[in-house]
Symmetry: C2
Subunit: 83 residues, 2 copies
């Protein structure tokens, strides 16, 4: 049996309007270090996975993983990209 390995990139992004304290604190720290002109900093979480299955199955599995574990639907959205 031959199995393909699919690489998937899952991005977990905060919804628009949700506070991003880590990003905001990073912006402040950069300002204190003397970096000018940094208007905003947002943080994004990325999971890069290797999946032992076909592409269609992998996409469906990744979306289910986001719903069940990786993302909090109240404050986060997710995108799945196969490579």
């Amino acid at each position: 049996m031959v199995l393909t390995v699919v690489k998937a990139e899952i991005r977990i992004v905060l919804k628009h309007g949700v506070a991003d304290p880590e990003g905001e604190n990073t912006r402040k720290a950069l300002e204190l270090l003397g970096f000018k002109g940094v208007k905003s900093v947002k943080t994004i979480k990325v999971f890069e996975m290797e999946l032992d299955m076909g592409a269609e199955e992998a996409r469906a599995a990744c979306e289910e993983m986001c719903r069940k574990l990786l993302a909090n639907p109240v404050i986060q959205t997710y995108t799945v990209e196969l490579k």
Copy 2:
């Protein structure tokens, strides 16, 4: 004075061979939830920034930010992509 706003995406990736406990624990949790075929999970940190400067200046600034604050050169590498 007209200033352009440049969007930059900075990716902080663990170097090859460095342990990624968060990724490994995510893989285990997915397995416990019944997801089959997940061979590996790696975590990547992404900073998305808006910078009030030209493109060349923005790229240089982002690389300096990585060296000074965002990345740990012992275990992490970084890439800067302007949008």
